[in-house]
Symmetry: C4
Amino acid sequence: MKEIEIRELKRVKLNAPVMIEGLPGVGNVGKLVVEHMIEELHAEKIIEIYSWHFPPQVFVKDDGTVRLCRNEIYAWSSPKLDLLILTGDQQSITNEGHYILTEKYLDIAEKFGVSRIFTLGGYGIGHLVEEQRVIGAANTPELVEEMRRFGVEFMEEEPGGSIVGASGLLLGLGKMRGIPAVCLLGVTSGYLVDPKSAQAVLRVLCKILGLEMDMHALEERAKEMERVVERLKKMEQAQAPMRAGEELEYIR
Amino acid sequence: MKEIEIRELKRVKLNAPVMIEGLPGVGNVGKLVVEHMIEELHAEKIIEIYSWHFPPQVFVKDDGTVRLCRNEIYAWSSPKLDLLILTGDQQSITNEGHYILTEKYLDIAEKFGVSRIFTLGGYGIGHLVEEQRVIGAANTPELVEEMRRFGVEFMEEEPGGSIVGASGLLLGLGKMRGIPAVCLLGVTSGYLVDPKSAQAVLRVLCKILGLEMDMHALEERAKEMERVVERLKKMEQAQAPMRAGEELEYIR
Amino acid sequence: MKEIEIRELKRVKLNAPVMIEGLPGVGNVGKLVVEHMIEELHAEKIIEIYSWHFPPQVFVKDDGTVRLCRNEIYAWSSPKLDLLILTGDQQSITNEGHYILTEKYLDIAEKFGVSRIFTLGGYGIGHLVEEQRVIGAANTPELVEEMRRFGVEFMEEEPGGSIVGASGLLLGLGKMRGIPAVCLLGVTSGYLVDPKSAQAVLRVLCKILGLEMDMHALEERAKEMERVVERLKKMEQAQAPMRAGEELEYIR
Amino acid sequence: MKEIEIRELKRVKLNAPVMIEGLPGVGNVGKLVVEHMIEELHAEKIIEIYSWHFPPQVFVKDDGTVRLCRNEIYAWSSPKLDLLILTGDQQSITNEGHYILTEKYLDIAEKFGVSRIFTLGGYGIGHLVEEQRVIGAANTPELVEEMRRFGVEFMEEEPGGSIVGASGLLLGLGKMRGIPAVCLLGVTSGYLVDPKSAQAVLRVLCKILGLEMDMHALEERAKEMERVVERLKKMEQAQAPMRAGEELEYIR
């Protein structure tokens, strides 16, 4: 395995697809959205991405087998719209890795002739959210205007903000290549996995893309994931003392 | 010395050997098992591995001489079974080093025509262990089934688990090369070096490999190591204030 | 994008220009000074510098569009004096990046035939400043003498001091190339953005360069920035809990 | 400047010199010893070593000029004994840098045909030292025996010890090249710069090398340095709040 290893699982042809990124982040909002889309659309995994910049770990699956930490790209095709969906276990854990991996994602985007990129995430406000809102950023003024028409908010009065990780770099580095890109952030507390915020983001995204999608499954998934999180949090508390010291930890 | 330096001490021929990894980790379980095996089987050291990815330190031996921090590979041959045993002082302390070193271990494994890899470690549960158990993960479903027959537990109901470091990566990166690999984790509190858990892992491993091995020496070693740990812990407490600040520390 | 990417926006010819560096640092003193100069002189941006050594983030502008974290070089020309002004969002966040980026800045300085470099920053004293002072360091004894004549203080009685980051390395690495360079540090508390200290530094710098400049705009800017800082600090407090844990943070 | 830059200031010929390393570390013992030797012997600086692996900073000298963070090698020649003395501002602050820099030191050692290396440091025990002692480690058993005759202690009953940084790696990596090397550690509390411990180490080293040296200057220097340390500590306390946050710090 090299610094980055691209495993092409299947060759597909797509027609100027839209790329949608949903990697782990605040409230896990972006990942929840794209996982729901992959399931509902029966999107097909076509690429796996492995890298030294991901944590040195494997995940144990339900059947007892393992797989390396990785990112994945799914494809979906329809007469009106083609999609490339990017998700995964983790973002880079090195500084340069964020840049290097995002460039690889853009190489793939260009190879498929991507027409536009949407990056999805959460925008933590530090307290409970009363009204679901989606705020945005884009790499061209035209996209800002277009997004506004779909109810995406842009907060002009708050300068100095930044977007960290792949969701931000895909816009910044995408701009260098002339690929239009938008970031949609669901407002969330930032404390917990937030499927409600994910639903708000998905609703806006579907409107923009002209897609219809059953939200019910996401609600179910949301409830299920909340239970998992609760269980993980209990496990984590129990294992916390073990993590002290400088030994490697095996967390199953 | 380069990024990784392989010192071949002796050329040996092995017949489709089984590779067993036991590097430092939770409860030091994996390392305790392989150290016992090396001693009992009189396995012979054939390779030393040095790397920038190990901590920049030397260890002082009983005779006052030093040696660099390193990993080691031992060989053992018998009419029925050949072994390659991987152990060492430390795992990588850089992120990419985990990947790079594991690939080197697999290069060596392939050179010897390894038939199968067992990685050994501890699985910390954060409280005292009442009943000795060995849980597992593997990189093929067939191996999961085979291991189950030897009493290894696979915890289907607990998703989201991961194995960090060489014990995990040897399975994940080994799968990419088509090398079957199993991870055996002794359940342990995670607070202390745990030779009891090591015995449980060794017992299962011997059953799988069809090896007979005196456990008595491990029990003795366990007691002895517990005394060492106690002494080290006292020394560490005494030296703790010295470690504050940004100076390098000399710990003897 | 490579490890460092230099974007030349405009080709200009300058006559043995003076380079002035003001990157983020203690009290933001250096950056405040050069931002004021760029505005007052209507200096023109000629170069953008992108790098893996900057944080992996984009900044959201008032119009909702984003731009990558970067450093920038501005040019200004007059019959008596030409300037190259270096500023930016961040300094390197890796150790080697500080060295690598500073060498790039010096490559650019040499290409333009820079006659002299001034690096600007704050010198934090840990308590409120009663009297505005500017202390200095230089990479030749002649420059020390010259600066003294302009009221820059050199603190001979305090050995062991150091200057960290680009403001220091431009002097040290500049010396290797034979480029005369001075560091001017405005004494500041170190707790807050300090436009008053920036004014003191700018006043000395203008005297040295024989430049006349309206300070009024800096005063206004100072007040405005203080309000921004207050608002940011409140936002930061509100978002602080979200930042715990190991997830990526989206801070707008 | 490259990853490592060797500046040869003067070409000298030495006769199988002994190399003595004294870089910053516990109690600053090693550096105090070699600084005293350089002064007393009027050793001449012949090499400067710069590297990305050192902190990105310059030091301000008494005359207001700066110099880059670096390591230095001094030469001293006499009819009976030639010396190469390695000292400097800092050790590497990256993991791989420790290995890479130590290899460079050994390249230089080999070029001069070094007969033997002594690395000097402190051995922190976490409480006040009542009786000055020097403990050792070496990279051959013969050297251990030889050192014992000069009163150096080797603590056989304390296994598991290690020596971190250049003082350790010069022994470990030196062994790979067949260069005999000894580490002498002055027992010290580990809390403060310890010129008393430095005197103990110097006394043993002089006995081994057959050198006579006035200790009085070291005593004076010790007192002087203790005053400096006190002053630095007060400055540090005053500046501590400034260091919070993620901005670069300018510490003069």
